[in-house]
Protein backbone atom coordinates (compact mmCIF):
# COMPACT_ATOMS: atom_id res chain seq x y z
CA UNK A 1 0.00 0.00 0.00
CA UNK A 2 2.91 2.33 0.66
CA UNK A 3 3.98 2.23 -2.99
CA UNK A 4 0.80 3.97 -4.01
CA UNK A 5 1.49 7.01 -1.90
CA UNK A 6 5.14 7.04 -2.98
CA UNK A 7 4.19 7.01 -6.63
CA UNK A 8 1.83 9.88 -6.29
CA UNK A 9 3.03 12.99 -8.03
CA UNK A 10 4.40 15.61 -5.63
CA UNK A 11 1.82 18.32 -5.01
CA UNK A 12 3.74 21.11 -6.67
CA UNK A 13 1.59 23.54 -8.61
CA UNK A 14 2.21 23.47 -12.37
CA UNK A 15 3.40 27.11 -12.19
CA UNK A 16 5.95 26.60 -9.43
CA UNK A 17 7.42 23.57 -11.13
CA UNK A 18 7.96 25.29 -14.47
CA UNK A 19 9.91 28.20 -13.04
CA UNK A 20 12.61 25.70 -12.17
CA UNK A 21 16.16 26.30 -11.05
CA UNK A 22 18.47 29.15 -11.92
CA UNK A 23 21.67 28.79 -13.95
CA UNK A 24 24.96 30.35 -12.85
CA UNK A 25 24.38 33.27 -15.19
CA UNK A 26 20.89 33.89 -13.83
CA UNK A 27 22.08 33.63 -10.22
CA UNK A 28 24.68 36.35 -10.84
CA UNK A 29 21.98 38.48 -12.41
CA UNK A 30 19.63 37.89 -9.49
CA UNK A 31 22.36 38.80 -7.00
CA UNK A 32 23.12 42.09 -8.77
CA UNK A 33 19.43 42.98 -8.94
CA UNK A 34 18.79 42.08 -5.29
CA UNK A 35 21.64 44.27 -4.07
CA UNK A 36 20.49 47.15 -6.31
CA UNK A 37 16.86 46.94 -5.25
CA UNK A 38 17.73 46.72 -1.55
CA UNK A 39 20.03 49.74 -1.93
CA UNK A 40 17.33 51.58 -3.84
CA UNK A 41 14.67 50.92 -1.19
CA UNK A 42 16.98 51.74 1.71
CA UNK A 43 18.56 54.79 -0.01
CA UNK A 44 16.93 57.41 2.27
CA UNK A 45 17.93 55.50 5.44
CA UNK A 46 21.61 54.91 4.64
CA UNK A 47 22.76 58.19 6.10
CA UNK A 48 23.73 59.58 2.69
CA UNK A 49 23.60 63.30 2.14
CA UNK A 50 20.43 64.63 0.54
CA UNK A 51 20.77 63.92 -3.22
CA UNK A 52 19.05 67.17 -4.16
CA UNK A 53 20.76 69.41 -1.60
CA UNK A 54 23.06 71.79 -3.43
CA UNK A 55 26.04 73.25 -1.59
CA UNK A 56 28.94 75.60 -2.12
CA UNK A 57 31.34 72.66 -2.55
CA UNK A 58 30.81 72.56 -6.30
CA UNK A 59 32.78 70.30 -8.64
CA UNK A 60 34.79 68.55 -5.95
CA UNK A 61 36.92 65.61 -6.97
CA UNK A 62 36.36 62.24 -5.30
CA UNK A 63 37.34 62.37 -1.62
CA UNK A 64 36.56 60.68 1.71
CA UNK A 65 33.56 62.93 2.35
CA UNK A 66 32.28 62.77 -1.26
CA UNK A 67 33.17 59.33 -2.62
CA UNK A 68 32.37 60.23 -6.23
CA UNK A 69 32.87 63.99 -5.80
CA UNK A 70 30.18 66.65 -6.26
CA UNK A 71 28.46 68.00 -9.35
CA UNK A 72 28.15 71.54 -10.72
CA UNK A 73 25.50 72.37 -8.09
CA UNK A 74 27.56 70.90 -5.26
CA UNK A 75 25.36 67.83 -4.88
CA UNK A 76 26.95 64.58 -3.71
CA UNK A 77 27.36 62.32 -6.78
CA UNK A 78 27.51 59.08 -4.76
CA UNK A 79 24.22 59.84 -3.06
CA UNK A 80 22.65 60.73 -6.41
CA UNK A 81 23.88 57.50 -8.01
CA UNK A 82 22.36 55.42 -5.17
CA UNK A 83 19.09 57.38 -5.22
CA UNK A 84 19.05 57.07 -9.03
CA UNK A 85 18.39 53.34 -8.69
CA UNK A 86 14.80 54.15 -7.79
CA UNK A 87 13.66 55.98 -10.91
CA UNK A 88 15.65 53.73 -13.27
CA UNK A 89 14.34 50.46 -11.86
CA UNK A 90 10.79 51.82 -11.59
CA UNK A 91 10.81 52.91 -15.24
CA UNK A 92 12.33 49.53 -16.18
CA UNK A 93 9.58 47.65 -14.36
CA UNK A 94 6.95 49.88 -15.92
CA UNK A 95 8.29 49.03 -19.39
CA UNK A 96 8.43 45.33 -18.47
CA UNK A 97 4.87 45.27 -17.12
CA UNK A 98 3.42 47.14 -20.09
CA UNK A 99 5.39 45.01 -22.57
CA UNK A 100 4.08 41.86 -20.86
CA UNK A 101 0.49 43.03 -20.48
CA UNK A 102 0.36 43.90 -24.19
CA UNK A 103 2.65 41.20 -25.57
CA UNK A 104 1.45 38.05 -23.79
CA UNK A 105 -2.26 38.23 -24.73
CA UNK A 106 -1.46 39.27 -28.29
CA UNK A 107 1.06 36.43 -28.64
CA UNK A 108 -1.39 33.95 -27.11
CA UNK A 109 -4.16 34.97 -29.46
CA UNK A 110 -1.91 34.85 -32.53
CA UNK A 111 -0.43 31.49 -31.63
CA UNK A 112 -3.68 29.87 -30.55
CA UNK A 113 -5.97 31.24 -33.26
CA UNK A 114 -3.58 30.90 -36.22
CA UNK A 115 -4.99 31.55 -39.70
CA UNK A 116 -5.87 35.09 -40.75
CA UNK A 117 -5.74 36.56 -37.23
CA UNK A 118 -2.23 35.15 -36.76
CA UNK A 119 -1.05 36.50 -40.13
CA UNK A 120 -2.45 39.94 -39.35
CA UNK A 121 -0.86 40.09 -35.88
CA UNK A 122 2.44 38.78 -37.27
CA UNK A 123 2.44 41.59 -39.83
CA UNK A 124 2.05 44.16 -37.05
CA UNK A 125 4.72 42.49 -34.92
CA UNK A 126 7.20 42.41 -37.81
CA UNK A 127 6.47 46.04 -38.60
CA UNK A 128 7.06 47.09 -34.98
CA UNK A 129 10.21 45.01 -34.56
CA UNK A 130 11.73 46.61 -37.64
CA UNK A 131 10.94 50.17 -36.57
CA UNK A 132 13.65 52.48 -35.26
CA UNK A 133 12.41 52.24 -31.67
CA UNK A 134 14.66 54.88 -30.15
CA UNK A 135 13.81 57.41 -32.88
CA UNK A 136 10.10 56.87 -32.27
CA UNK A 137 10.55 56.99 -28.50
CA UNK A 138 12.46 60.28 -28.86
CA UNK A 139 9.75 61.88 -30.98
CA UNK A 140 6.85 60.68 -28.82
CA UNK A 141 8.59 61.53 -25.54
CA UNK A 142 9.46 64.99 -26.83
CA UNK A 143 5.78 65.52 -27.65
CA UNK A 144 4.11 64.08 -24.54
CA UNK A 145 6.74 65.34 -22.10
CA UNK A 146 9.41 63.29 -20.36
CA UNK A 147 7.85 62.30 -17.05
CA UNK A 148 8.74 58.89 -15.62
CA UNK A 149 5.27 57.52 -16.43
CA UNK A 150 5.35 58.80 -20.01
CA UNK A 151 8.81 57.33 -20.62
CA UNK A 152 7.68 53.93 -19.30
CA UNK A 153 4.51 54.04 -21.42
CA UNK A 154 6.34 55.04 -24.60
CA UNK A 155 9.09 52.42 -24.20
CA UNK A 156 6.60 49.70 -23.22
CA UNK A 157 4.61 50.55 -26.31
CA UNK A 158 7.64 50.11 -28.60
CA UNK A 159 8.89 46.97 -26.82
CA UNK A 160 5.86 44.64 -26.59
CA UNK A 161 6.34 42.95 -30.01
CA UNK A 162 9.38 40.89 -28.94
CA UNK A 163 7.33 39.43 -26.09
CA UNK A 164 4.38 38.77 -28.40
CA UNK A 165 6.62 37.07 -30.94
CA UNK A 166 8.23 34.77 -28.36
CA UNK A 167 4.92 33.83 -26.74
CA UNK A 168 3.39 33.13 -30.14
CA UNK A 169 6.26 30.79 -31.07
CA UNK A 170 6.00 28.96 -27.76
CA UNK A 171 2.21 28.61 -28.01
CA UNK A 172 2.45 27.16 -31.51
CA UNK A 173 5.02 24.69 -30.19
CA UNK A 174 2.97 23.67 -27.15
CA UNK A 175 -0.39 23.45 -28.86
CA UNK A 176 0.98 20.73 -31.16
CA UNK A 177 2.03 18.58 -28.19
CA UNK A 178 0.24 15.36 -27.35
CA UNK A 179 -1.07 16.44 -23.96
CA UNK A 180 -2.75 19.54 -25.37
CA UNK A 181 -4.32 17.38 -28.06
CA UNK A 182 -5.53 15.01 -25.32
CA UNK A 183 -6.94 17.92 -23.33
CA UNK A 184 -8.77 19.09 -26.44
CA UNK A 185 -10.07 15.60 -27.13
CA UNK A 186 -11.43 15.46 -23.57
CA UNK A 187 -13.49 18.52 -24.38
CA UNK A 188 -11.40 21.25 -22.75
CA UNK A 189 -12.42 24.75 -23.76
CA UNK A 190 -9.73 26.99 -25.35
CA UNK A 191 -9.68 29.25 -22.27
CA UNK A 192 -9.19 26.29 -19.94
CA UNK A 193 -6.46 24.80 -22.14
CA UNK A 194 -4.62 28.12 -22.28
CA UNK A 195 -4.83 28.55 -18.49
CA UNK A 196 -4.08 24.99 -17.54
CA UNK A 197 -1.55 23.88 -20.14
CA UNK A 198 -0.21 26.65 -22.32
CA UNK A 199 0.42 29.47 -19.85
CA UNK A 200 2.23 27.29 -17.25
CA UNK A 201 4.50 26.00 -20.01
CA UNK A 202 5.17 29.45 -21.43
CA UNK A 203 5.68 31.08 -18.04
CA UNK A 204 9.43 30.48 -17.85
CA UNK A 205 9.88 32.15 -21.19
CA UNK A 206 7.60 35.05 -20.22
CA UNK A 207 9.48 35.65 -16.96
CA UNK A 208 12.82 35.56 -18.79
CA UNK A 209 11.59 37.93 -21.46
CA UNK A 210 10.12 40.21 -18.78
CA UNK A 211 13.59 40.52 -17.29
CA UNK A 212 15.11 41.26 -20.72
CA UNK A 213 12.42 43.88 -21.36
CA UNK A 214 13.22 45.54 -18.01
CA UNK A 215 16.92 45.52 -19.00
CA UNK A 216 16.28 47.25 -22.31
CA UNK A 217 13.73 49.55 -20.74
CA UNK A 218 16.44 50.82 -18.40
CA UNK A 219 18.97 50.90 -21.28
CA UNK A 220 16.66 52.95 -23.51
CA UNK A 221 15.40 55.29 -20.81
CA UNK A 222 19.02 56.04 -19.88
CA UNK A 223 19.75 56.74 -23.56
CA UNK A 224 16.73 59.04 -23.72
CA UNK A 225 17.84 60.98 -20.67
CA UNK A 226 21.41 61.15 -21.97
CA UNK A 227 19.93 62.78 -25.08
CA UNK A 228 18.14 65.34 -22.89
CA UNK A 229 14.77 63.65 -22.40
CA UNK A 230 15.18 62.44 -18.84
CA UNK A 231 12.76 62.74 -15.93
CA UNK A 232 12.43 66.39 -14.84
CA UNK A 233 15.10 67.72 -12.44
CA UNK A 234 16.01 67.53 -9.62
CA UNK A 235 15.16 63.80 -9.49
CA UNK A 236 18.47 61.90 -9.67
CA UNK A 237 18.54 60.25 -13.10
CA UNK A 238 21.62 58.36 -14.32
CA UNK A 239 21.41 59.31 -18.00
CA UNK A 240 21.02 63.00 -17.13
CA UNK A 241 23.93 62.79 -14.68
CA UNK A 242 26.19 61.36 -17.40
CA UNK A 243 25.05 64.10 -19.77
CA UNK A 244 25.86 66.81 -17.24
CA UNK A 245 29.10 65.24 -16.05
CA UNK A 246 30.68 64.55 -19.41
CA UNK A 247 32.01 68.09 -19.86
CA UNK A 248 34.06 67.61 -16.68
CA UNK A 249 35.41 64.23 -17.80
CA UNK A 250 39.08 65.23 -17.65
CA UNK A 251 38.72 66.94 -14.28
CA UNK A 252 36.37 64.61 -12.40
CA UNK A 253 35.76 61.42 -14.42
CA UNK A 254 33.61 59.71 -11.77
CA UNK A 255 30.96 62.38 -12.19
CA UNK A 256 29.87 60.80 -15.48
CA UNK A 257 31.49 57.35 -15.34
CA UNK A 258 29.90 56.39 -11.99
CA UNK A 259 26.26 56.88 -13.11
CA UNK A 260 27.16 55.29 -16.46
CA UNK A 261 28.55 52.25 -14.66
CA UNK A 262 25.37 52.11 -12.56
CA UNK A 263 23.25 51.92 -15.72
CA UNK A 264 25.49 49.23 -17.18
CA UNK A 265 25.42 47.14 -14.00
CA UNK A 266 21.63 47.34 -13.71
CA UNK A 267 21.07 46.46 -17.36
CA UNK A 268 23.59 43.63 -17.00
CA UNK A 269 21.79 42.23 -13.93
CA UNK A 270 18.37 42.10 -15.59
CA UNK A 271 19.86 40.85 -18.87
CA UNK A 272 21.73 37.99 -17.18
CA UNK A 273 18.64 36.99 -15.20
CA UNK A 274 16.63 36.75 -18.40
CA UNK A 275 19.16 35.17 -20.73
CA UNK A 276 19.92 31.51 -21.16
CA UNK A 277 23.34 29.92 -20.99
CA UNK A 278 24.91 28.84 -24.21
Amino acid sequence: MTTVSENRAPSVSPWREKLGKLSVRQSIGLMIITVLIVLGILAPYLGLSDPNQSSLDILQRASASHWFGTDALGRDVFSRVIHGIRVSVLIGFGVGVLGTVLGVPIGLIAGYARGTIDLFILQIIDLFVALPALILALIITAIVGSTAINIALVLGFVMWPQMARLVRGQVIFIRESVYVEAARALGGSPGWIIRQHILPNAIRLVVAQFSITVAFGIFSSASLSFLGLGVPPPTPDWGTMVREGVQFLAFSPLMSIAPGAAVTLTVLGFYLLGSKDD
Partner: protein
Protein backbone atom coordinates in the same frame (compact mmCIF):
# COMPACT_ATOMS: atom_id res chain seq x y z
CA UNK B 1 10.58 34.02 -56.68
CA UNK B 2 9.26 36.98 -58.62
CA UNK B 3 5.84 36.66 -57.04
CA UNK B 4 7.48 36.65 -53.63
CA UNK B 5 9.32 39.90 -54.38
CA UNK B 6 6.19 41.50 -55.81
CA UNK B 7 4.19 40.48 -52.75
CA UNK B 8 6.82 41.90 -50.44
CA UNK B 9 6.92 45.21 -52.31
CA UNK B 10 3.13 45.41 -52.39
CA UNK B 11 2.99 44.71 -48.65
CA UNK B 12 5.60 47.36 -47.97
CA UNK B 13 3.66 50.20 -49.60
CA UNK B 14 0.71 50.21 -47.14
CA UNK B 15 3.15 49.72 -44.26
CA UNK B 16 5.22 52.74 -45.26
CA UNK B 17 2.13 54.87 -45.81
CA UNK B 18 0.55 53.78 -42.54
CA UNK B 19 3.66 54.36 -40.45
CA UNK B 20 4.60 57.71 -41.97
CA UNK B 21 1.01 58.93 -41.75
CA UNK B 22 0.76 57.84 -38.11
CA UNK B 23 3.98 59.69 -37.35
CA UNK B 24 2.81 62.78 -39.22
CA UNK B 25 -0.58 62.77 -37.50
CA UNK B 26 0.90 62.17 -34.03
CA UNK B 27 3.45 64.92 -34.36
CA UNK B 28 1.00 67.46 -35.79
CA UNK B 29 -1.88 66.76 -33.40
CA UNK B 30 0.18 66.72 -30.22
CA UNK B 31 2.32 69.73 -30.96
CA UNK B 32 -0.81 71.77 -31.46
CA UNK B 33 -0.69 74.55 -33.97
CA UNK B 34 2.85 75.13 -35.26
CA UNK B 35 1.86 78.75 -35.82
CA UNK B 36 1.39 79.25 -32.08
CA UNK B 37 4.85 77.81 -31.51
CA UNK B 38 6.37 80.08 -34.16
CA UNK B 39 4.73 83.29 -32.96
CA UNK B 40 5.34 82.75 -29.27
CA UNK B 41 3.02 83.36 -26.33
CA UNK B 42 2.14 86.98 -27.05
CA UNK B 43 0.47 86.28 -30.39
CA UNK B 44 -3.24 87.01 -30.70
CA UNK B 45 -5.69 84.42 -31.93
CA UNK B 46 -6.16 86.35 -35.21
CA UNK B 47 -2.45 86.36 -35.92
CA UNK B 48 -2.26 82.61 -35.26
CA UNK B 49 -5.24 81.95 -37.51
CA UNK B 50 -3.71 84.06 -40.28
CA UNK B 51 -0.41 82.25 -40.11
CA UNK B 52 -2.17 78.88 -39.97
CA UNK B 53 -3.98 79.84 -43.14
CA UNK B 54 -0.80 81.07 -44.80
CA UNK B 55 1.05 77.79 -44.13
CA UNK B 56 -2.05 75.62 -44.63
CA UNK B 57 -2.15 74.27 -41.07
CA UNK B 58 -5.94 74.76 -40.99
CA UNK B 59 -6.55 72.04 -43.58
CA UNK B 60 -7.50 68.43 -42.67
CA UNK B 61 -4.53 66.33 -41.54
CA UNK B 62 -4.76 63.92 -44.47
CA UNK B 63 -4.53 66.81 -46.94
CA UNK B 64 -1.51 68.20 -45.09
CA UNK B 65 0.09 64.76 -45.18
CA UNK B 66 -0.43 64.32 -48.92
CA UNK B 67 0.85 67.84 -49.47
CA UNK B 68 3.95 67.06 -47.40
CA UNK B 69 4.60 63.87 -49.39
CA UNK B 70 4.13 65.68 -52.71
CA UNK B 71 6.68 68.31 -51.68
CA UNK B 72 9.04 65.73 -50.20
CA UNK B 73 9.11 63.80 -53.47
CA UNK B 74 10.40 66.96 -55.13
CA UNK B 75 13.09 67.27 -52.46
CA UNK B 76 11.29 70.01 -50.52
CA UNK B 77 10.92 69.13 -46.83
CA UNK B 78 9.97 72.62 -45.68
CA UNK B 79 11.99 75.05 -43.62
CA UNK B 80 13.45 74.62 -40.17
CA UNK B 81 11.56 76.69 -37.60
CA UNK B 82 14.69 77.61 -35.70
CA UNK B 83 17.27 78.32 -38.41
CA UNK B 84 14.83 79.12 -41.27
CA UNK B 85 17.22 77.08 -43.43
CA UNK B 86 15.61 74.61 -45.83
CA UNK B 87 15.43 71.17 -44.21
CA UNK B 88 17.01 69.54 -47.25
CA UNK B 89 20.01 71.89 -47.02
CA UNK B 90 20.44 71.13 -43.32
CA UNK B 91 19.97 67.40 -43.77
CA UNK B 92 22.08 66.63 -46.86
CA UNK B 93 25.57 67.23 -45.42
CA UNK B 94 24.78 65.13 -42.34
CA UNK B 95 23.86 61.96 -44.23
CA UNK B 96 27.38 60.91 -45.35
CA UNK B 97 28.69 61.29 -41.77
CA UNK B 98 26.07 58.93 -40.37
CA UNK B 99 26.38 56.49 -43.25
CA UNK B 100 30.14 56.31 -42.90
CA UNK B 101 29.95 55.77 -39.14
CA UNK B 102 27.30 53.05 -39.46
CA UNK B 103 28.93 51.21 -42.35
CA UNK B 104 32.34 51.07 -40.65
CA UNK B 105 30.73 49.92 -37.42
CA UNK B 106 28.68 47.19 -39.11
CA UNK B 107 31.71 46.02 -41.09
CA UNK B 108 33.91 45.92 -38.00
CA UNK B 109 31.23 44.13 -35.99
CA UNK B 110 30.62 41.48 -38.66
CA UNK B 111 34.35 40.82 -39.12
CA UNK B 112 34.90 40.63 -35.35
CA UNK B 113 31.90 38.33 -34.93
CA UNK B 114 33.17 35.89 -37.54
CA UNK B 115 36.76 36.03 -36.29
CA UNK B 116 35.93 35.57 -32.61
CA UNK B 117 33.36 32.86 -33.12
CA UNK B 118 34.75 30.58 -35.79
CA UNK B 119 38.44 30.12 -35.10
CA UNK B 120 38.25 26.40 -34.45
CA UNK B 121 41.55 25.64 -32.68
CA UNK B 122 41.06 28.36 -30.13
CA UNK B 123 37.34 28.03 -29.66
CA UNK B 124 37.53 26.52 -26.17
CA UNK B 125 39.87 29.23 -24.95
CA UNK B 126 38.28 32.10 -26.82
CA UNK B 127 34.62 31.26 -26.29
CA UNK B 128 34.26 32.40 -22.65
CA UNK B 129 36.01 35.65 -23.54
CA UNK B 130 33.79 36.14 -26.58
CA UNK B 131 30.68 35.43 -24.52
CA UNK B 132 31.72 37.98 -21.91
CA UNK B 133 32.52 40.58 -24.58
CA UNK B 134 29.21 39.95 -26.32
CA UNK B 135 27.21 40.33 -23.08
CA UNK B 136 29.07 43.55 -22.26
CA UNK B 137 28.55 44.79 -25.82
CA UNK B 138 24.81 44.24 -25.53
CA UNK B 139 24.34 45.70 -22.05
CA UNK B 140 26.71 48.71 -22.00
CA UNK B 141 24.95 51.85 -23.23
CA UNK B 142 26.76 53.51 -26.15
CA UNK B 143 27.28 56.69 -24.16
CA UNK B 144 29.01 54.79 -21.35
CA UNK B 145 31.42 52.94 -23.65
CA UNK B 146 32.06 56.12 -25.65
CA UNK B 147 32.91 58.12 -22.54
CA UNK B 148 35.19 55.38 -21.20
CA UNK B 149 37.05 55.21 -24.54
CA UNK B 150 37.41 59.00 -24.63
CA UNK B 151 38.69 58.97 -21.06
CA UNK B 152 41.29 56.25 -21.75
CA UNK B 153 42.51 57.10 -25.24
CA UNK B 154 42.02 60.85 -25.42
CA UNK B 155 42.23 62.19 -21.86
CA UNK B 156 44.74 59.80 -20.27
CA UNK B 157 46.86 58.43 -23.13
CA UNK B 158 46.36 61.41 -25.44
CA UNK B 159 46.60 59.17 -28.49
CA UNK B 160 43.40 60.33 -30.13
CA UNK B 161 41.32 63.51 -30.25
CA UNK B 162 38.39 63.62 -27.79
CA UNK B 163 35.49 64.50 -30.05
CA UNK B 164 34.64 66.18 -33.31
CA UNK B 165 34.76 65.33 -36.96
CA UNK B 166 37.25 66.04 -39.75
CA UNK B 167 36.36 65.34 -43.39
CA UNK B 168 38.50 63.14 -45.64
CA UNK B 169 39.75 66.27 -47.43
CA UNK B 170 41.60 67.36 -44.27
CA UNK B 171 43.81 64.31 -44.47
CA UNK B 172 43.31 60.58 -44.12
CA UNK B 173 45.12 60.35 -40.81
CA UNK B 174 43.13 63.14 -39.19
CA UNK B 175 39.89 61.70 -40.51
CA UNK B 176 40.57 58.19 -39.26
CA UNK B 177 41.82 59.33 -35.87
CA UNK B 178 38.52 61.14 -35.31
CA UNK B 179 36.32 58.31 -36.46
CA UNK B 180 37.98 55.32 -34.82
CA UNK B 181 36.52 55.73 -31.32
CA UNK B 182 32.93 56.29 -32.49
CA UNK B 183 33.18 53.28 -34.81
CA UNK B 184 34.46 51.04 -32.01
CA UNK B 185 31.75 52.34 -29.66
CA UNK B 186 28.96 51.58 -32.09
CA UNK B 187 30.49 48.30 -33.27
CA UNK B 188 30.71 46.90 -29.71
CA UNK B 189 26.95 47.07 -29.43
CA UNK B 190 26.44 45.43 -32.84
CA UNK B 191 29.08 42.79 -32.07
CA UNK B 192 27.03 41.62 -29.10
CA UNK B 193 23.82 41.04 -31.00
CA UNK B 194 25.54 39.67 -34.13
CA UNK B 195 27.40 37.15 -31.98
CA UNK B 196 24.16 35.79 -30.55
CA UNK B 197 22.72 35.25 -34.04
CA UNK B 198 25.95 33.89 -35.52
CA UNK B 199 26.42 31.35 -32.71
CA UNK B 200 22.94 29.95 -33.09
CA UNK B 201 23.43 29.54 -36.83
CA UNK B 202 26.92 28.14 -36.44
CA UNK B 203 25.66 25.49 -34.04
CA UNK B 204 22.76 24.73 -36.34
CA UNK B 205 25.14 24.33 -39.29
CA UNK B 206 27.24 21.90 -37.27
CA UNK B 207 24.24 19.69 -36.66
CA UNK B 208 23.58 19.32 -40.37
CA UNK B 209 24.51 16.40 -42.52
CA UNK B 210 27.06 18.05 -44.81
CA UNK B 211 29.28 18.87 -41.85
CA UNK B 212 29.24 15.26 -40.78
CA UNK B 213 30.04 14.23 -44.34
CA UNK B 214 32.89 16.74 -44.53
CA UNK B 215 34.30 15.38 -41.29
CA UNK B 216 33.83 11.80 -42.42
CA UNK B 217 35.81 12.64 -45.55
CA UNK B 218 38.68 13.40 -43.21
CA UNK B 219 38.81 17.19 -43.69
CA UNK B 220 40.59 19.12 -40.98
CA UNK B 221 38.53 20.91 -38.32
CA UNK B 222 39.80 24.24 -39.64
CA UNK B 223 38.59 23.44 -43.13
CA UNK B 224 35.23 22.17 -41.91
CA UNK B 225 34.77 25.26 -39.81
CA UNK B 226 35.90 27.92 -42.27
CA UNK B 227 34.78 26.45 -45.59
CA UNK B 228 31.59 24.63 -44.61
CA UNK B 229 30.12 26.06 -41.41
CA UNK B 230 31.12 29.72 -41.81
CA UNK B 231 29.33 30.52 -45.09
CA UNK B 232 26.17 28.92 -43.72
CA UNK B 233 26.27 30.93 -40.54
CA UNK B 234 27.26 34.29 -42.01
CA UNK B 235 24.29 34.62 -44.34
CA UNK B 236 21.73 34.82 -41.50
CA UNK B 237 23.92 37.44 -39.82
CA UNK B 238 23.90 39.57 -42.97
CA UNK B 239 20.12 39.19 -43.14
CA UNK B 240 19.86 40.02 -39.47
CA UNK B 241 21.82 43.22 -40.08
CA UNK B 242 19.35 44.24 -42.77
CA UNK B 243 16.29 43.32 -40.75
CA UNK B 244 17.39 44.93 -37.50
CA UNK B 245 18.64 48.17 -39.01
CA UNK B 246 15.79 49.99 -37.24
CA UNK B 247 16.86 49.07 -33.71
CA UNK B 248 20.50 49.60 -34.73
CA UNK B 249 19.86 53.23 -35.71
CA UNK B 250 19.33 54.26 -32.07
CA UNK B 251 22.92 53.43 -31.16
CA UNK B 252 24.21 55.63 -33.96
CA UNK B 253 22.22 58.62 -32.65
CA UNK B 254 23.67 58.25 -29.15
CA UNK B 255 27.19 57.70 -30.49
CA UNK B 256 27.01 60.84 -32.63
CA UNK B 257 25.97 62.83 -29.58
CA UNK B 258 28.82 61.48 -27.43
CA UNK B 259 31.44 62.32 -30.04
CA UNK B 260 29.77 65.54 -31.33
CA UNK B 261 29.69 64.23 -34.88
CA UNK B 262 27.73 66.40 -37.35
CA UNK B 263 25.48 63.52 -38.44
CA UNK B 264 21.76 62.97 -38.87
CA UNK B 265 21.42 61.87 -35.24
CA UNK B 266 22.79 65.09 -33.82
CA UNK B 267 20.63 67.19 -36.13
CA UNK B 268 17.64 65.12 -35.01
CA UNK B 269 18.33 65.46 -31.28
CA UNK B 270 18.88 69.20 -31.73
CA UNK B 271 15.55 69.49 -33.54
CA UNK B 272 13.80 67.57 -30.76
CA UNK B 273 15.21 69.88 -28.12
CA UNK B 274 14.00 72.91 -30.07
CA UNK B 275 10.63 71.33 -31.05
CA UNK B 276 11.68 71.94 -34.66
CA UNK B 277 8.75 70.15 -36.23
CA UNK B 278 9.76 69.99 -39.95
CA UNK B 279 13.26 68.68 -39.19
CA UNK B 280 11.92 66.04 -36.74
CA UNK B 281 9.32 64.92 -39.20
CA UNK B 282 11.65 64.78 -42.21
CA UNK B 283 14.26 62.71 -40.35
CA UNK B 284 11.66 60.46 -38.70
CA UNK B 285 9.95 59.67 -41.99
CA UNK B 286 13.20 59.24 -43.92
CA UNK B 287 14.58 56.84 -41.30
CA UNK B 288 11.38 54.76 -41.29
CA UNK B 289 11.41 54.68 -45.08
CA UNK B 290 15.13 53.80 -45.24
CA UNK B 291 14.78 51.03 -42.67
CA UNK B 292 11.83 49.50 -44.51
CA UNK B 293 13.65 49.57 -47.87
CA UNK B 294 16.69 47.94 -46.21
CA UNK B 295 14.43 45.24 -44.74
CA UNK B 296 12.92 44.61 -48.15
CA UNK B 297 16.31 44.40 -49.89
CA UNK B 298 17.80 42.03 -47.31
CA UNK B 299 14.71 39.86 -47.44
CA UNK B 300 14.92 39.63 -51.24
CA UNK B 301 18.66 38.94 -51.17
CA UNK B 302 18.15 36.28 -48.52
CA UNK B 303 15.36 34.47 -50.34
CA UNK B 304 17.20 34.55 -53.66
CA UNK B 305 20.44 33.20 -52.17
CA UNK B 306 18.51 30.63 -50.20
CA UNK B 307 16.74 29.59 -53.37
CA UNK B 308 20.06 29.14 -55.15
CA UNK B 309 21.45 27.21 -52.23
CA UNK B 310 18.51 24.85 -52.16
CA UNK B 311 18.49 24.48 -55.95
CA UNK B 312 22.25 24.16 -56.37
Amino acid sequence: MLSHITRRILLMIPNVIAMTFLLFATVSSFLGSPAAAMLGQEASLEEIAALNKQYGFDRPIIVQYLDWIAHALRGDFGRSYTSQQSVADALLPTIPVTLELSLWAILLAVVATVLFNSVPFARRVVQPITTTLAVIGITIPNFMLGICLIFIFAVKLRWLPTTGWVPWSAGVGAHLSHIILPVVTLAANYFGSFTLVYREEYKAAYRRLFIKVARAKGLSETRVSLVHALPNAILPVVTYVGLSLGPLVGGAVVTEMVFSMPGVGRLFVGAIGAHDFPVMLAIGILVIFGVMVANLVSDIVYTSINRQVSLG
